[in-house]
Subunit: 290 residues, 2 copies
């Protein structure tokens, strides 16, 4: 898995333009966040589903990178003063703390735009053909847009300081974090030319680990330390945010996230290829400490 | 031309998602800026070049809308407090003045993302085929990205308060405003399946009116009134911005913008179809008062 992560990180950078005298700082700022670490959950899923459906990881890689760029853009913009106003991300100063707000704004938009360059790049077309690349563009745009991730972010904004229900949180998270994780499953399937049954199972896996992921995130904000997490803990309760942890308690959260993970793993039964990696991945996300 | 504008404005809105209880404010905020007027220069160019190269305006429309969405997103983000901090745009309060900074940030990103949905939409594919849609995605992403418009914006930011040369302004504007105008020409040609010679002439036209457009913009900031312009005049000199008007003087600017317009019009000679509209359009942009 470490090898794959390294491959992803190498290819991610390959899409960045040259740092010339004109746009050098913008490109550096984009690179700063692209290389700031992270678990690379989404690109890993893209490539693993591609493999599972009989495709190649190499072919899925441009789509995997595109999705990670979109995820990274969302983190940069999320951290901005007008959003969460965070100073730390993965233990490092946030993009705007290093490059200033204006540059961070542009860098985020730059990565969102670069995602579509990657998905329509010569490399992507050579490995996947035009049809699949355009399907990938469509999935990327829909999952990142107002009905997907951005929709989740506006719900999140409008929920600030309000007590909301668990069902409300579920709708929000299905968009805010779920949409990109489901996109990961779909992109892998698209690259591999998966059957409808495989696509359905992949989306089911993604939906379940997506929600589990968010519930675990909420728990970590309560149970982890700032050092482990790479960002301040307790920020949710400090911001009076409704979370699964606050609404249901840690024990129920543990149980639900385990059930969701089991359900995700069960959905893998339709695949003929070895599903060990995705099974382990689901449990790794459940047991992670940051 | 008024008819065409109306068609564009109607189709632009057709790509917006439903305003449901969850994402209603985000969609309203996107709609607010999409319907805030403007000359619709870029979509008009897309459709006119499509027609000129033997294509249909209808087929070019999804690409025209995509480009206008990208232009609109750039205005929303440009007006944000961390960028130009403008309160007025086309005589109306800017997006963040109405919806707040966070929502405006998301609405801008939402429009950028929606552009790629439009270019990969069922409608776009039905009218243009997969190949041309993917080419359009590529042109949109490259022209809006770090090597295009965003690159121009970072140059602009880094030039603030500095005295820069006319050549510096030209590099900046070729990216900041030129890239999307050139994209307009290319998108029209792509939709129509233009020849290489046609594409070259279209890009030449776009480059020349693009620069002329910017020079006229600078002049209007000096010579127009706030009422005519729909935004405060004199803001460039107030912000100590280097402009063509400041560096070259109004008379030289007039002459250069006329020469550029003539050159643009000359490049139309390769087209067999009637070029009256594009000729008039170039002179309209030159003579405009806002």
């Amino acid at each position: 898995m470490a090898d794959k992560k390294q491959n992803i990180e190498k290819e991610l950078l390959s899409y960045l333009p040259q740092k010339d005298e004109w746009i050098g700082n913008l490109v550096s700022s984009m690179e700063y966040s692209l290389t700031a670490g992270g678990k690379r959950v989404r690109p890993m899923l893209v490539m693993e589903f591609a493999r599972l459906c009989g495709g190649s990881e190499e072919a899925a890689m441009p789509f995997a990178c595109a999705l990670e760029m979109i995820h990274t853009y969302s983190l940069i913009h999320d951290d901005l003063p007008c959003m969460d106003n965070d100073d730390l991300r993965r233990g490092k100063p946030t993009n705007h703390k290093v490059y200033g707000e204006a540059c961070a704004l542009l860098a985020g938009s730059g990565l969102l735009t670069l995602a579509f360059e990657a998905a329509s790049s010569g490399r992507a077309v050579e490995l996947n053909g035009t049809e699949k690349c355009l399907q990938a563009v469509k999935v990327l745009a829909e999952s990142a847009g107002a009905q997907g991730m951005l929709g989740g972010q506006i719900i999140d904004l409008e929920s600030e300081g309000k007590q909301v229900s668990v069902d409300h949180l579920k709708v929000m998270d299905a968009k805010k974090t779920g949409a990109l994780i489901i996109a990961a499953a779909k992109l892998g399937c698209i690259s591999a030319g998966a059957t409808e049954e495989q696509m359905k199972a992949a989306v089911c896996y993604a939906e379940n680990i997506g929600l589990a992921f968010q519930i675990v995130d909420d728990m970590l904000d309560v149970t982890s330390s700032t050092e482990e997490l790479g960002k301040p803990v307790g920020s949710d309760s400090e911001n009076e945010k409704s979370t699964y942890a606050a609404l249901l308690g840690i024990d129920a959260c543990k149980q639900i996230s385990e059930e969701l993970t089991d359900r995700a793993v069960e959905s893998l039964s339709v695949f003929e290829n070895d599903t060990t990696t995705l099974r382990n991945f689901a449990y790794y996300l459940l047991k992670r400490e940051n």
